[in-house]
């Protein structure tokens, strides 16, 4: 699987998770503040869970040969996160650099963890050669 594919899937994963949050914001995620994954604990768990699961699936389907996996996927999600942050109603908030760093680190951790789990499962199934 090409890097561009992993990038695109990472991007689409974040956008899909965000779309779900926007749709179910009041019912599932508390709904006090504007729909945004860092505005509630449940949405943080949901988004990072989606990133982790999707990255895991990517690693299962076609694992990267690199030692550290999930970075390209995370970059795609990070780009989507930044776009959503600035395009949302009212624009980015007053601490958006911190939001980008913390959100980006969360996405990176989730993506790398998912890719690691996926790669381990793949190796276990196919055998470590």
């Amino acid at each position: 699987m090409t890097r561009w594919m992993r990038f695109a899937v990472g991007l689409l994963t974040f956008l899909a998770a965000h779309a779900v949050e926007v749709r179910q914001w009041s019912a599932w995620f508390g709904g006090v503040h504007p729909p945004w994954f860092l505005n509630s604990g449940r949405s943080i768990a949901f988004t990072l869970g989606c990133v982790c699961a999707s990255s895991c699936m990517m690693a299962l389907v076609g694992g990267s040969a690199e030692r550290v996996r999930g970075i390209t996927f995370a970059v795609g999600s990070f780009v989507a996160m930044t776009a959503v942050l600035f395009l949302q109603k009212g624009g980015a908030g007053s601490i958006f650099p911190i939001v980008m760093v913390v959100g980006g680190l969360g996405i990176l951790m989730g993506s790398m963890f998912g890719a690691f789990i996926g790669a381990e499962i793949r190796l276990a199934v196919r055998g470590r050669t």
């Binding site: 006090v32 503040h33 945004w36 505005n39 009212g90 624009g91 007053s94 601490i95 911190i98």
Partner: protein
């Protein structure tokens, strides 16, 4: 003829004097102060060193203040239904020494009645410019009058005192203060001495402290400490926040240049009560006040030139943290942005001015500093020297 002439002259003079002239109207119009218009977006801030509307709003919810002095005197001050204030001062044996009553007589003025047990009573009119009739003020005034006497009284620094008598430092005479507030909140302040300890990484404190223990309907609800020597204010509210908050002079440097005032016993009690009250509102309602919705630019315009709003209560785009210890960092950052006039064009323009960058650096430092405070160290025997 003379009579007629005199009558006409008197009539003319009287008519001239009583006739409403355009000049009088003009002078009256000139005498009215002009309405001071403030340009849109320009904020007017008060003096941060003075107690403001929030303080007096919170103080107005206090129903009883019990103050014990080092010499054994105890003052109980209560607020009545329509705002009247009554102080009763007793000595260490429980004998009544004096009563001070403040009765509101109109929208702003109060009539003071002072009745010492061993002297002549008097009444006086308070000046609303000089006196805010708080429970704390009434307590200190009653104590000062009993200790210094009531002859030749003058207004000095918002207090009545004998002419020529030096100002009394009542704060240093206070040993303990109990503030009974609305919603079952009671704060009890005592003076203590703490051994050297580390309340947060790199933050060592020791020496004389004011400790305010908060209870809600009798159950422990929080602790606030003012470290006099280190000028550090720290508090914790179990159940409403993890860890604690410690605010030193360096944390206030960007906005106020350090502590703009020295916290006193009454302020400390009200501060922990207010922190508990506002955090409870945050926990139940999600906000303390209605947020202001600014006009929205188009989405594409916002994408290319993102607008940074400094008026969203709490941590913008990170509201998951609003109930935590870093909430105050975000509010400080909002205030810093507002004060410095920061927006999307200036948030990182160090080559022109560091004012907005200082706000950003301060909030990052605040994020790192908070959450590492050890609440146990706010109690006297909670922890030892670090």
């Amino acid at each position: 003829m003379k009579k007629w002439l005199a009558f006409v002259v008197v009539g003319l003079v009287a008519g001239t004097l009583t006739w409403p002239k355009s000049g009088v109207v003009a002078r009256a119009a000139q005498g009215n102060p002009l309405v001071q218009l403030i340009p849109p977006g320009q904020k007017q801030v008060g003096n941060p060193g003075e107690k403001g509307a929030t303080y007096y709003g919170l103080e107005a919810q206090t129903t009883r203040l019990t103050t014990r002095f080092r010499d054994g005197h105890e003052a109980v001050t209560e607020r009545g239904l329509v705002g009247e204030v009554m102080t009763t001062l007793r000595d260490e044996s429980g004998n009544e020494r004096a009563r001070l009553r403040l009765n509101r007589i109109d929208g702003g003025h109060d009539m003071l009645h002072f009745e010492p047990s061993g002297g002549a009573p008097f009444q006086a009119l308070s000046d609303p410019v000089l006196v805010k009739p708080t429970l704390d003020w009434a307590t200190r005034q009653a104590y000062s009058l009993v200790k210094d006497g009531t002859d030749d009284l003058v207004w000095d620094g918002g207090m009545m005192r004998r002419k020529g008598v030096a100002r009394r430092d009542v704060e240093s005479d206070i040993e303990s203060v109990e503030t009974v507030w609305a919603n079952g909140l009671v704060a009890r302040l005592t003076r203590q001495t703490y051994t050297r300890r580390q309340i947060a990484p790199g933050r060592f404190v020791q020496g004389k402290v004011l400790v305010s223990e908060l209870t809600a309907y009798g159950a422990p609800a929080g602790t606030a400490v003012w470290f006099e020597q280190d000028r550090v204010f720290a508090y914790t509210l179990p159940g409403l926040m993890a860890g604690g908050v410690a605010i030193g002079p360096e944390d206030l440097k960007a906005n106020y240049g350090g502590w703009p005032f020295t916290p006193d016993s009454t302020w400390l009690n009200l501060q922990i009560i207010a922190s508990r009250h506002f955090r409870s509102l945050l926990a139940t309602k999600g906000s303390v006040a209605k947020s202001c919705e600014p006009t929205q630019p188009s989405r594409w315009a916002a994408f290319f030139t993102p607008t940074v709003y400094a008026n969203e209560a709490g941590c913008d785009d990170f509201h998951w943290l609003d109930g935590g210890v870093v909430r105050q960092c975000c509010d400080d950052h909002d205030r810093c942005y507002s004060k410095s006039g920061c927006d999307s064009d200036t948030w990182w323009q160090w080559w022109k001015s560091w004012s907005c960058d200082r706000c950003n650096i301060a909030v990052v430092a605040c994020f790192f500093a908070r959450g590492q405070i050890e609440p146990r160290c706010l109690t006297r025997e909670g922890c030892t020297a670090g």
